[in-house]
């Protein structure tokens, strides 16, 4: 029986959505599913991990996992891998997940595949399906060597609990010789209102076509009327118009809303990889040849600075109200 590990992460003392998604995906592979949690709040999620299929949970509660970036977690995880030899290790592609996976890989000489959308049995082991070239091509990569690692993109699986119950808990100690590394001094939360970008039913995103940062205000107005969230392309995030937390795409967030409204976004692959899973796409762009129109269900060739204000007036006339 093969042994599949999921490195489960916590956000605000709860399991990160991507960890639940990865557990759900891993469950479909069969085999023994086990989770590793290295977080001072980890005890609170053991039951949920069981529900999602983990038969065993390796649990480390040392505050160092929070206080330091990646190094203590990778050190302890490496020790566990050497002891238990999992056949596959899955991580959510988060900031911390990526760093811990990278360090584990280097420490033990394990291969890593990133941008993974699915994992499938292959020969005696596994292969990872990932997307490249802005998700225009899917590549299947055979994973060789011991305990290969896969970094799974958010929203690759739909999280659903299974029928598992009370997993076996194995307490994991942080050895005194574990490295500490970079110190997390303070966490700053950028205030935001309305639904979360990753969870919103409607996402209104803006790009260079908005011409100036202050014009993002009209997207905020539109999003408020639709109870949606505001996203952005990499170009305008790099230009400093909007915070990175708003970025949709390869280097930003993956969103799968019911409706995605792309305003002044040309549709570079960097962006489309993060939004092409939307159920319905509306695009507004001046350039008739913009690649975004190849994805959209409804495309409007026009100036966003005219179309969006007109749309706001139209929605208000139809009785839409900001909450």
């Amino acid at each position: 029986m093969s042994k599949i590990w999921v490195y489960a992460e916590l956000t605000n003392a709860e399991l990160a959505p991507v960890s639940l998604e990865v557990l759900t995906g891993a469950r479909q592979l069969g085999g023994d599913l086990e989770a590793v949690v290295l977080d001072p709040a980890g005890a609170g999620v053991v039951e949920t991990l069981g529900e999602y299929g983990a038969g065993t949970v390796y649990l480390g509660l040392d505050p160092s996992y929070r206080e330091h970036l990646a190094q203590p977690a990778a050190f302890v995880l490496a020790g566990l891998v050497e002891q238990h030899h999992p056949d596959l290790i899955l991580f959510g592609a988060t900031y911390d997940g990526r760093d811990i996976c990278a360090r584990l890989s280097a420490r033990l000489g394990l291969t890593v595949v990133a941008n993974v959308l699915d994992v499938v049995p292959h020969g005696n082991g596994y292969a990872a399906v990932s997307s490249i070239f802005g998700a225009t091509q899917n590549v299947t990569t055979e994973l060789l060597g011991p305990s290969p690692c896969a970094l799974v993109r958010a929203k690759s699986f739909v999280a659903a609990p299974g029928s598992g119950t009370g997993p076996q808990v194995v307490d994991v100690a942080l050895p005194p010789e574990a490295p500490t590394g970079a110190r997390r001094l303070e966490s700053v939360v950028t205030p935001s209102s309305g639904p979360k970008l990753e969870e919103a039913r409607v996402v209104v995103s803006g790009g260079r076509g908005l011409q100036a940062p202050e014009n993002f205000r009209i997207l905020e107005q539109l999003a408020e009327l639709l109870n949606g969230a505001v996203g952005a392309s990499r170009a305008v995030v790099d230009a400093g118009w909007v915070p990175y937390a708003r970025q949709v795409g390869q280097t930003g967030k993956t969103v799968k809303p019911d409706v995605y409204i792309a305003c002044g976004i040309s549709g570079a692959m960097q962006h489309t990889v993060g939004m092409k899973g939307a159920s319905h796409i509306i695009a507004i762009n001046k350039d008739r040849d913009a690649p975004i129109f190849k994805l959209s269900d409804l495309g409007v060739v026009g100036d966003v600075l005219k179309v969006v204000p007109a749309l706001i007036s139209e929605l208000e006339a139809r009785g839409a109200q900001a909450p």
Partner: protein, 256 residues
Amino acid sequence: MRIAVFVKQVPDPSGAGRLDPATNLLVREGVEVVLDPGDAYGIEAALQLAEASQGEVVVISMGGERALEVVRKAMAMGAGSGLHVFDQRLGGSDALATARVLAAAVSRVAPDLVVAGTESTDGYTGTVPAAVAELLGWPSLTFAKHLELSGGTVRVQRQTPAGHDLVEADLPAVVTVTGGINEPRYPTLKGIMGAKSRPLEQLSIEDLGLDAAGLSPQQRVVAVAPAPQRQAGRVVEDDGSAARLIADYLAELKVI
């Protein structure tokens, strides 16, 4: 203060990427190749830190013959010297092998700080800098949107899903910077001319004291297929009625 910066030559991201059907490796010949746009921020960050500390910047790149061009470009922007790891046997390296090579190059340069982009614009794996740090036993501070040095400490604002964390570490360390952390400079004519007289070393696997056998990739592409594509829908020119059309569509989707 000596600062090393990683740069990579990638196929022009605005062009369409292609895989060689025989090897399933990225085609790098006969296509436009450029300095990875993410690396320009790393170079600029390194130059600014070096300028503030009377330090020097050393460019490190692993890549094919033409990758020399991006090392030269970084030197034209102001880096004092360059190191190009060029070895045919490194074609098709995975992220782990790349990290092993770069870590060996860093050991040779012995910098106080390594700066890199968060991930390359061709492979997008994003694990190489932290893997290099692990191989060296150094801390890594990834996703920095702000970076400062004081004494023997590096301090960054690290992106998080909700905002940022303030993170610090003792040098030597590896930092990755996000796009937009600064405004990368363009090489000047003087810079381009000056770069030609500065040292640029080309090294093989053995020059770095590595064994090629330990660098073979532990993964193999077995299939490539077009991803399912969306069908293009209706496209209309805005004649003043587009807002109504969108509102009708939103009503149809029961969003309003």
